[in-house]
């Protein structure tokens, strides 16, 4: 054990007690990866603070000893954001799970970061309120992780992402000082550092308390599943709906492979031989909902739907969603292992992009299942492989990375909700210029001048990505002839 870590161990044992500090290798190994299990590093120490004072103590001690720290929530992240540092402290916030305050009248709740996403909605259900962002992992993932990733979910098309629902974050900065970013009201005076913090993937500090905006449960909810001969036909139906001015609460698509896996797992009643299935959900005032729902049904039919199933009641709807949300878990039925990407493309280029992914899969000799948030073009291609075959695993990883970068070349993004983390840091130069990244890094240094908070994540470094800089990508304005490379 390096000197600094040994000193730190002694100090932190005093602060956290035996229960709050894991030092044994077998215990620490439990934390070696997040949801991206291909990346594993056993952390030097694992701290399990129970309140903000303990977090401050751990962060200060790390700062004093020059030891890196990595925050972790529930470890469901899919981009290796909570991947530990071998010479660092993993700070797991899972024991900070108090609901601090519910202000039902003003539709706000304040929670500690270890509270799960689903617990928030449960805690306010008696007031007919709920928390809108709904990642499929919501039963397990933590609000701290949601804030760090700016997580989304099926219903973000209408209701927005985590960033639209966070009012305030209490943050322990990398020097151990505590600040409140944002506040109990909108528009706290000063720079919107709350807005910058959300989605910063644990690189700017540790969030120890979060105030969230809640919404009234919608008056009415209408859900249908429409089958189509192909994903591109389903994509046309989505475009037709959007063009008609409909803003659905959710539009999800599954291709045939995904349908088969989900159906086998959840028995949701999906049509096994459909080329693609769309789940469209509308919510809001009943009269609005019914009027729009009639249009959605018509537009799906006009765009070649082969069958339409309308959820008869809440339990039928729950079953449909259970089927959809089972997608990742269900992949185990198709393949022992998979990589999931979450690139985003402009929705109008869906058909084109899926066709290209198909070709790439054939070229790589691998199967790719697609299940995604079709309304906002957020793909979740699942590259199926067998880890026991290292050569295949490597091919799968390459294909997976190429798919994410393909999305960028279509004018989209590397990630719609899972984050960059350790996984996609080296692809960042395909989306941003060196200057863009350097400016983000300047902001990072304003929070964390010594680079100790979740290092080696989000931004490409030579250590991470090799000495060779990433492929050069012209600035969009440069391509337009507006600027020259500077």
């Amino acid at each position: 054990m390096p000197m600094a870590i040994e000193d730190l161990r002694q100090e932190l044992t005093g602060l956290l007690g035996d229960r709050g500090l894991l030092t044994e290798w077998t215990q620490r190994r439990t934390y070696e990866s997040d949801g991206l299990t291909g990346y594993r590093i056993v952390p030097a120490l694992v701290a399990l603070p129970e309140d903000v004072q303990q977090v401050v103590g751990v962060v200060r001690a790390c700062a004093r000893h020059g030891v890196p720290l990595v925050p972790r929530g529930a470890g469901t992240g899919l981009s290796g954001g909570a991947l530990p540092h071998a010479d660092g402290v993993l700070i797991a916030l899972s024991r900070m799970r108090r609901i601090v305050e519910v202000d039902a009248a003003n539709q706000r709740i304040t929670v500690e970061p270890g509270v799960t996403n689903a617990q928030v909605s449960r805690a306010v259900a008696e007031h007919d309120l709920y928390y809108a962002p709904d990642p499929s992992s919501q039963v397990v993932c933590s609000i701290g992780g949601n804030v760090a990733e700016n997580s989304g979910g099926a219903h973000c098309l209408k209701y927005g992402f985590t960033t639209h629902h966070v009012l305030a974050c209490e943050v322990v900065l990398p020097d151990g000082e505590v600040v409140e970013l944002g506040g109990p009201t909108l528009d706290a005076p000063g720079y919107d550092l709350r807005g910058v913090f959300v989605g910063s993937e644990g690189t700017l500090g540790i969030v120890t308390k979060v105030s969230l905006r809640l919404l009234r449960r919608p008056d009415a909810v209408r859900t249908l599943v429409a089958d189509f001969p192909s994903p591109s036909a389903a994509g046309d139906a989505v475009s037709a709906n959007i063009a008609a001015g409909i803003v659905p609460a959710a539009v999800e698509m599954m291709d045939n492979l995904a349908i088969q896996a989900c159906e086998a797992d959840a028995h949701a009643g999906f049509t096994l031989d459909a080329g693609a299935a769309l789940i469209v959900e509308l919510d809001g005032p009943a009269a609005e909902c019914d009027a729009a729902f009639a249009d959605v049904t018509r537009l799906c039919n006009e765009n070649g739907a082969t069958s339409i199933r309308i959820a008869g009641d809440a339990s039928d709807r729950d079953l449909i969603w259970k089927g959809r949300k089972a997608a990742f878990a269900a992949m185990g039925r198709l393949s022992p292992d998979y990589f999931v990407q979450d690139g985003v493309i402009p929705r109008t280029r869906l058909g084109e992009c899926l066709a290209r992914i198909d070709e790439m899969a054939v070229e790589a000799g691998l199967r790719v299942a697609n299940v995604f948030h079709a309304g906002d073009g957020n793909l979740h291609p699942l590259v199926l492989y067998t880890a026991a075959d290292p050569e295949q695993a490597e091919r799968a990883e390459t294909l997976s990375r190429q798919i994410a970068e393909l999305c960028v070349s279509f004018g989209g993004s590397l990630s719609g909700e899972h984050g960059i983390g350790a996984d996609k840091a080296c692809s960042m130069p395909t989306m941003f210029t060196a200057d863009d990244l350097a400016v983000m890094d300047r902001v990072r240094a304003a929070f964390d001048p010594h680079g100790r908070c979740n290092p080696d994540k989000v931004f490409p470094t030579p250590r991470l990505c090799g000495e060779r800089p990433g492929p050069y990508r012209p600035h969009p304005l440069e391509s337009a002839g507006v600027i020259e490379r500077m």
Binding site: L173, V196, G416, H475
Partner: protein
């Protein structure tokens, strides 16, 4: 261009009017070369906001109104890239051809308020209640920093978590971090039909109605209150399908009636939203103080304003985005010292209920008595804001003195 603007708060040694990104960068570099500070403005409708520019260097002014193009409108994807100096009104007119809009309705559009100016000022209007602020609608930003670095963040798709969301930093920064040249925004479909009702209600009853509306299944797009000690009224807007908006009006009315309030349809009055929206900006010579509270503190904010102005010769009206808890107090009459005293007293009371007050436009002399920003809270938070400022603008060229804490 004929749009008016308030007198520039600085004496400009040079005025730049770039038409593209390269010229915008040249303008910033020219200011740097001349060791000058930089004041950015669009139509200039918010030059009176923020602190007064710090003395010291010469000033170069960057007028963004040459950056006036809609660069790209992807109707199918409901996104658009627009140069920062384009008047919002013109943008909306172009988007309307495709049945779309940028769902932002701040005041002063008629005076040419630009998209970038609205973004940099963090301004919003009544429909922010439903659509969020401009900061929530901007999905990508291209800006020039003081050293000439061109930095882009976000992207062209509405869902995107790659890299830091620096777009949030530009919003409300009042031109103190850099020059925003272009933004990509998320669009919304224009509603088929819109209705509004006015509900006469003093602040206390209005507060109860607002909270009940939030707790009801109605989905209003705007919930405004305007009034003073003598009473006031709510204005509630709904939008949707022609066949269904009446049902929405009925559910708003049902809530109001539970509080024994009367409901007056105002759909025959086309200018009603314009009038209510513009009222937030106050009239020349007035002081506008913006308070942020929880929505349930509307009555408390209104009472606090009455108490603060009591015994002075200052008259007050409160114009509130009531569903959001954002209230604009317009102070008129009396002298600058009195305006300052009323604002300071109001701020103290609003702070006591966990809110904040920031001054917007105000007459000369007010700043001698009261800081337009107030105390930004913990020292470490201000220090962090200063660190962010110096990370992006280490020589403090962009509008020094204009932001919180003298940043």
């Amino acid at each position: 261009m004929t749009s008016t603007r308030s007198a520039s708060p600085v004496a400009a040694a040079a005025v730049h009017r770039p038409g593209d990104l390269a010229a915008a960068r040249d303008a910033v570099l020219a200011a740097r070369e001349a060791d000058a500070n930089i004041l950015v403005h669009g139509a200039g409708t918010k030059l009176g906001w923020g602190g007064r520019p710090a003395p010291g260097r010469n000033w170069h002014v960057v007028d963004t109104r040459g950056l006036n193009r809609l660069v790209r409108h992807d109707a199918g994807d409901m996104t658009a890239s627009v140069q920062a100096g384009m008047p919002l009104r013109e943008l909306q007119a172009q988007l309307a051809h495709a049945g779309q809009e940028l769902a932002a309705d701040p005041s002063r559009r008629a005076r040419g308020a630009t998209v970038g100016g609205v973004y940099a000022a963090g301004d919003g209007g009544p429909r922010r209640h439903h659509h969020g602020g401009v900061r929530d609608l901007v999905i990508g930003t291209t800006a020039v920093l003081a050293d000439g670095t061109v930095a882009r963040s976000g992207g062209d798709v509405i869902k995107n978590v790659a890299g830091y969301d620096l777009g949030k930093l530009w919003s409300g920064s009042l031109g103190t971090l850099g020059l925003v040249v272009e933004m990509t925004v998320r669009l919304h479909p224009l509603a088929e039909a819109a209705r509004a009702v006015r509900v006469p209600a003093a602040a206390d009853v209005a507060t109860a109605i607002v909270l009940d509306l939030l707790a009801s299944p109605a989905e209003p797009v705007a919930v405004e209150w305007s009034g003073g000690a003598g009473g006031g009224a709510l204005l509630v807007g709904v939008e949707g399908r022609a066949a269904a908006v009446d049902a929405q009006v009925a559910s708003v009315a049902a809530v109001a009636r539970r509080h024994a309030a009367t409901v007056e349809p105002v759909d025959g009055e086309p200018d009603v939203w314009d009038a209510w929206r513009e009222a937030h900006a106050g009239e020349p010579g007035a002081t506008v103080a913006r308070a942020a509270t929880r929505p349930g503190d509307l009555a408390a904010a209104a009472d606090a304003l009455d108490v603060a102005a009591d015994g002075t010769s200052v008259g007050t009206t409160l114009h509130s985005h009531a569903g959001l808890g954002l209230h604009d107090a317009v102070l008129r009459g009396g002298d600058a010292a009195e305006h300052a005293a009323v604002a300071a007293a109001w701020r103290e009371r609003i702070r006591a209920i966990g809110g904040s007050v920031v001054l917007r436009d105000r007459p000369a002399g007010v700043d001698e008595h009261v800081d337009p920003w107030g105390d930004p809270g913990s020292g470490r938070l201000l220090e962090l804001m200063r660190s962010v400022k110096s990370a992006l603008d280490p020589e403090r060229r962009f509008a020094p003195g204009r932001f919180v804490g003298g940043i």
